[in-house]
Amino acid sequence: MLRDITLGQYFPRESVIHRMDPRMKIALMTAMISACLIAQNAVEYAILSGFVLAVVLLARVPISLYLKTLKPLAFFIVFTCIINLFSADGEILAQWWIFRITREGITLAGLMMIRVILLVFISSLLTYTTSPIQLTNGLESLMRPLKWVRFPSHDVAMMMTIALRFIPTLIEEADKIIKAQSARGIDFQSGGLIKRIKALVPVLIPLFVSAFHRADELAVAMESRCYRGGEGRTSMIRLRVRAADWLAATVCVALITGLVMI
């Protein structure tokens, strides 16, 4: 059950999008997300959706994976749609008690749905096409200017790398402990809220104990390889912004400018 978490998973493929510079990807994804929030009418959304779909196809990651990330959000999407459906003023199409559906409400609900779906697609695009290492390298590089205000960009990036690296390990470990404890007669599925929370104690305690052990071991392993923070440290992966990245940036900027102008 815990294995089904897909959000933030890297999906290795050979594609133009995978090869892009992570910094450029982060910057452009942020720009696209703002574009999604700025867009207002159906035409703008159509253009945006077309563009996002084109990028999704270019990235060569199966669409079913994006849909899978949408699934847990289905309730949220439907809920926002319903709220929007009933909350707009305008030409009334149907009315019942205090609820009324207007033409504007339908449009608004539709656009809201597209907006949320686009946001999910754009953020999944970034995580599916960028390995965690590249992602943190990119973030570290982007955060470097913050050194002026004494922001420890290297340490933050290292912490993120470690956290990302150990998520699958922790999931595996939790899975194993859940199995071991259910073999000892714990029932995780039934009973009231308090009983279920209580059932988690025998899982969480061993999980924390082993996480602390692992953290200790990792610290020793890093120190014995002479890790001493970011001071004077060079990176094996040298990030380079290539012509393709500038091309992508130009297309994005053109698109967003176009959207704002309309």
């Binding site: 294995r3 199966p62 470990e173 194993k176 402990i177 199995k179 071991a180 404890q181 259910s182 073999a183 000892r184 007669g185 714990i186 104690v201 025998p202 305690i205 061993p206 104990v209 082993s210």
Partner: protein
């Protein structure tokens, strides 16, 4: 008796990460035997044993215990996972051992008796019963974790690599305890191990897993006589058996058997 009929298990079915870990296994585990399971890492041993006590439900085929189809986790089949000390969570050794039977609804004097009896079988000294299990030695922690499962008095216990990471004395101690459980308490034992010596010393029958399928099943002699094939699978026969083969003895798998043979020869 545990029966597996054409059992198949596929991880992450219908996703790009689909993997068939156990493929069409037929197997009968007899009451009172010690069945050893060997196989290369990733050959499906761990998945197979989890199917036996209902922790996993087969994607195809069925598992029957005493004739009943397994549909949920069975308390009568105990499961000792690899490094079982990682599941310890209680404040005292006593509570840790009592956890399983308490979940089964046991309480009062009966529970106390059960815990005391289990502690005795597992050689857990009475003076540590009120101590925290988290600060004991690795070997002791493991014995406490196993006691926690034993206290549920399962008729069958599955041990997944029970001696991994223990020092030689703790190893021998644990193997002796497993043998006692089987001989004196009539517990059926399923033992997954990478140590051929351990398998030869304890098991009545051996099951060899390869790519999710049963490659061989039979007595110690039957299975270990396929030496070349075992070597090719990344397995081996016990070192003492290798020595005895060089000396010309072909049916000798444990140190005890070898001692006998060599004593005879010396006379």
């Amino acid at each position: 008796m545990i029966e597996l009929k054409n059992v198949t298990y596929t991880y992450s079915k219908d996703t790009p990460f689909e993997k068939e870990a156990v493929a069409g296994v037929d197997l009968v585990v007899e009451k009172g035997e010690i069945l050893g399971i060997i196989g290369h890492t990733g050959s499906g041993k761990s998945t197979l044993v989890q199917l036996m006590n209902g922790l996993l439900t087969p994607t195809k085929g069925e598992v029957r215990v005493e004739g009943n189809k397994v549909e949920r986790v069975l308390p009568q089949i105990g499961m000792v996972f690899q490094y079982p000390e990682n599941q310890i969570f209680e404040e005292t050794v006593y509570k840790e051992i009592a956890f399983g039977p308490a979940n089964m609804g046991m309480g009062g004097e009966e529970l106390e008796r059960r815990v005391a009896k289990t502690a005795e079988i597992m050689d857990i000294p009475a003076e540590i019963m009120k101590k925290s299990p988290h600060f004991l030695s690795g070997g002791q922690k493991r014995r406490i974790a196993i006691a926690g499962i034993l206290a549920m008095e399962p008729g069958t216990i599955i041990f997944d690599e029970p001696t991994a990471g223990l020092d030689p004395r703790a190893k021998n101690h644990l193997i002796d305890t497993i043998l006692t459980l089987n001989r004196e308490h009539g517990v059926t034992v399923i033992l997954v191990s990478h140590s051929m010596e351990e398998i030869a010393r304890t098991c009545n029958r051996i099951l060899v897993m390869r790519d999710g399928k049963v490659a061989h099943i039979g007595t110690v002699t039957e299975v270990f006589s396929h030496e070349d094939e075992l070597l090719e699978m990344g397995l081996d026969i016990p070192e003492i058996a290798q020595l005895m083969r060089r000396l010309g003895y072909h049916d000798c798998w444990t140190v005890e058997q070898a001692t006998e043979k060599l004593k005879e020869a010396a006379c």
